[in-house]
C-alpha cells in the first residue's frame, strides 16, 4: 500500500474504509457464486460434456495448428518440434501445385456461383406458379432427393453415366456419330461435369429458402395487381422477384463468404492425375500432401492459410449482410 506524504488521518481512514468495502463486496460475491453453484450445479453438469468435447476435438487441433510454423516430427510431437517460422509458407507460395490449387479453387467456386446461384431462385419462382398442389409436391419431392444421397453414390452415378464403354452419355453421343470420349480423364471436361453435378444435386434443395421467402410475400400485393389486370408473368417479375430480393442478396453474400468451401469430397472422388491440372483445389492438395504424403507440417500450413482466408471472408460477409438486413445470419 502506498502512503502519500501529507495525507492526513482523514484520508487514511477513507482508504481503510474503501478497502473494507471492497473486501466485503468480494466476500459477498464469493458467497453468491458459492450459493449459485450449490443451487445450479446441475446446469454445469449438463454443459460439461459438450464443452469438454469442443475442447478435445475442435480446440485442441487449433493448438496443434502451430505445426504450420514448425519442423514437425511424429516422435517429438506438436510441442517438442522446433520452430522454423514462415518457412512452410515460403515453400507453399513457391510451389506451382499449391498456386494451381488456389487458382482452381477460385475458378471452380466462381463457376459454381455463376451457374449454380440463379438455378434455385428460378426453380422457386417456377414452383410458385404451379397451381396443382399434387404436381407441385411430387416435383418437389423428386428435386430435393439428390441432396440426401451421398457424394460417393453421386460420383458413382457420374462415373457410370460418363464411362467410355457403357455410359449413357457416350451412347447418346454415338447416335450423332460422335466418337466415344473418356470424359473423366479430360482436363477440359472436369469443371463442367463437377459444376453441373453440383447443380443437379443441390439446386432443388436450395430452392426451399426462396420458397419460404415467397410464402412471406403480402397477398394483398397480388390482389391489387389482379384488379389492375396484371398477367401472372408480370406479377412474377414485378411483385414476387422484388419481394424476395433481400433474401437473394443475403444468400449471395453467404455464398461469396463460403467461396473456398468447394465440396472437395466430391473432387477426391471424381478427379484423377490426368485431370489434376483443372481439378486440384486447396483441400485436395492438403489431403494429398498431408494425409497421403505424410508432410503434415506443410499441409497444415496450407490449411491454416485456407482457414484464415475463409474466416475473413465469412466475417466480412456476415458484417455486410448484417448491415444490409439488420438481422444477423447466425
Amino acid at each position: 500500500m502506498i502512503r502519500h506524504q501529507g495525507a492526513g488521518p482523514a484520508t487514511e481512514e477513507l482508504v481503510i474504509e474503501a478497502r473494507e468495502a471492497l473486501r466485503h463486496r468480494v466476500r459477498r460475491r464469493a458467497i453468491w457464486v458459492g450459493d449459485h453453484f450449490r443451487r445450479e450445479w446441475q446446469i454445469y453438469v449438463l454443459l460439461a460434456p459438450t464443452i469438454i468435447w469442443f475442447i478435445l476435438f475442435l480446440y485442441k487441433p487449433m493448438y496443434g495448428l502451430q505445426i504450420a510454423f514448425k519442423d514437425y516430427s511424429i516422435f517429438r510431437g506438436v510441442a517438442g518440434s522446433p520452430w522454423i517460422g514462415f518457412e512452410h509458407f515460403q515453400t507453399l507460395f513457391g510451389n506451382d501445385q499449391f498456386l494451381r490449387a488456389i487458382k482452381n479453387t477460385v475458378i471452380i467456386s466462381f463457376y459454381s456461383l455463376l451457374f449454380g446461384f440463379p438455378m434455385p431462385i428460378i426453380l422457386a419462382l417456377m414452383f410458385n406458379e404451379v397451381l396443382q398442389q399434387a404436381f407441385k409436391r411430387t416435383a418437389q419431392t423428386i428435386v430435393y432427393l439428390p441432396h440426401f444421397i451421398s457424394s460417393v453414390i453421386i460420383a458413382g452415378i457420374v462415373i457410370t453415366a460418363f464411362s467410355p464403354s457403357a455410359g449413357i452419355v457416350n451412347t447418346v453421343l454415338g447416335w450423332f456419330g460422335v466418337d466415344s470420349i473418356y470424359f473423366l480423364t479430360k482436363p477440359e471436361w472436369f469443371r463442367p461435369i463437377f459444376v453441373g453435378t453440383g447443380i443437379w444435386q443441390e439446386a432443388g434443395f436450395q430452392s426451399i429458402v426462396y420458397l419460404a421467402a415467397i410464402a412471406g410475400v403480402n397477398p394483398s400485393l397480388y390482389e391489387s395487381a389482379v384488379v389492375d389486370g396484371a398477367s401472372r408473368w408480370q406479377m412474377m417479375w414485378k411483385i414476387t422477384l422484388p419481394s424476395i430480393m433481400p433474401t437473394i442478396i443475403i444468400m449471395l453474400i453467404i455464398r461469396i463468404g463460403n467461396m473456398l468451401e468447394v465440396s472437395f469430397e466430391m473432387i477426391i472422388l471424381l478427379y484423377q492425375p490426368a485431370t489434376f491440372e483443372t481439378a486440384d483445389v486447396v483441400n485436395t492438395f492438403i489431403y494429398r500432401q498431408g494425409i497421403q504424403g505424410g508432410q503434415y507440417d506443410l499441409a497444415a500450413a496450407a490449411g491454416l492459410f485456407n482457414a484464415v482466408v475463409a474466416f475473413v471472408l465469412v466475417m466480412a460477409a456476415n458484417t455486410i449482410a448484417k448491415r444490409y438486413s439488420r438481422t444477423s445470419l447466425w
Partner: protein, 293 residues
C-alpha cells in the same frame, strides 16, 4: 395465388409452359436413378454394349447375387448401421443437455460458452490438425473414434438451443413447484415439447452419418471396420480405372457396370425408406436454421 380462376389466354399458356419446364427438370433429376436401377438389372453384355437407355435389357438379377455374396458388402453395411445409430445416439446425448444448459439465463459465462460453440462454425483447424489429434487420442481405426469424433457440431447445438429458448417459461413452472430439478425439467418438460426440433437434429445426424465417407476413409485402415460408403468408393471409384479387373468381372450375366449399379441401388434403398420423414422435418429444420449467435 392458388385460387385465381381469372386467366387470360397468356396466363394459361404461361402456367402450362411452366409446368412442362418443371416436369423436365424433375425427370432429369430422376432419370439417372432410373438409369442406374435399369443398368443393375441388365445383363453384362447389354450394359457393356451401351444398350441400356431406360429399362433393363435382358432382365437378370445376377449382379445383385454377385454383390450380396460378397462378405465385405455385408460387414460394411452392418458397420454403417453401427455408425449411424451409435453416432446419432451419441450426438443427441451431447447436444440435448448442452443446448439446454446454453439456453438457461442463469448460466454464468453464458455469452462466452455460446461464442465458444459458435466460433467453431467460422474457424476450424483443418484436416491435418484434426487428423493428428485423432491419432494422438488413439482413435484411429476404432469404432468409438468415428462415433465420438463427429458427435457434436455448433450448428446443431445452436439450432436446438434457439428452440429451447423459444419455449415459454410458464411451461416449466408447474414442474418447479413440484420440486423438479434441472434434469427432470429438461427430461419431462423441454424434451417432450421439443420433439420436432430434436427429430430434425436427429435426422441431420442420421443423414450425415449414413452418407459420410471422407473421415471414415482417412481414419479406418481395417477393412472389417469400414462403412458402406468407403466400400462403395473402393469398388466404384478405385476399381473403375482398373480395366483388367473390370474384364474379370465381365461375363454373360453381369459386368463391372451392372455390379456397381447394383451396389448403388442397395445403398440408396434405406435413404429412400426414411425419405418421407426427412421431407417432413428437413423443410422445418432448414428454416429453424436461421440460426442466431
Amino acid at each position: 395465388m392458388t385460387n385465381m380462376n381469372l386467366y387470360s389466354r397468356g396466363d394459361r399458356l404461361f402456367v402450362i409452359v411452366n409446368m412442362m419446364l418443371i416436369g423436365i427438370f424433375a425427370i432429369s433429376t430422376l432419370y439417372p436413378f432410373i438409369y442406374i436401377a435399369s443398368l443393375s438389372m441388365s445383363t453384362g453384355f447389354e450394359a457393356r454394349a451401351g444398350r441400356v437407355i431406360l429399362t433393363p435389357v435382358g432382365f437378370t438379377l445376377e449382379a445383385y447375387i454377385r454383390v450380396l455374396s460378397e462378405p465385405l458388402f455385408w460387414s460394411s453395411y452392418k458397420n454403417t448401421f453401427i455408425y449411424t445409430i451409435g453416432g446419432t445416439l451419441m450426438s443427441l446425448a451431447f447436444i440435448i443437455p448442452g443446448a439446454y444448459a446454453l439456453s438457461r439465463p442463469q448460466l454464468i459465462g453464458r455469452r462466452f460458452w455460446n461464442l465458444m460453440v459458435a466460433f467453431t462454425m467460422w474457424f476450424n483447424a483443418g484436416l491435418i490438425p484434426f487428423f493428428l489429434n485423432m491419432r494422438d487420442l488413439g482413435l484411429l481405426d476404432s469404432y468409438f473414434g468415428i462415433i465420438i469424433g463427429f458427435a457434436v457440431n455448433g450448428f446443431n447445438i445452436i439450432l436446438l438451443r434457439n428452440f429451447f429458448e423459444g419455449i415459454p417459461r410458464s411451461f416449466e413452472e408447474a414442474a418447479r413447484m413440484d420440486g423438479a430439478n434441472e434434469f427432470q425439467v429438461l427430461w419431462k418438460v423441454y424434451v417432450p415439447l421439443s420433439k420436432p426440433a430434436i427429430a430434425t437434429v436427429a435426422l441431420f445426424c442420421i443423414v450425415s452419418r449414413w452418407n459420410g465417407f471422407f473421415w471414415a476413409m482417412v481414419l479406418l485402415q481395417d477393412e472389417e471396420k469400414i462403412p458402406l460408403q468407403v466400400y462403395l468408393r473402393h469398388v466404384i471409384v478405385e476399381l473403375s480405372d482398373d480395366e483388367e479387373f473390370a474384364n474379370t468381372l465381365l461375363n454373360a450375366t453381369y459386368s463391372f457396370e451392372t455390379v456397381s449399379a447394383a451396389i448403388i441401388v442397395c445403398s440408396i434403398i434405406p435413404v429412400l425408406l426414411i425419405y418421407p420423414f426427412i421431407q417432413k422435418y428437413f423443410n422445418k429444420g432448414i428454416l429453424l436454421g436461421g440460426v442466431k449467435e
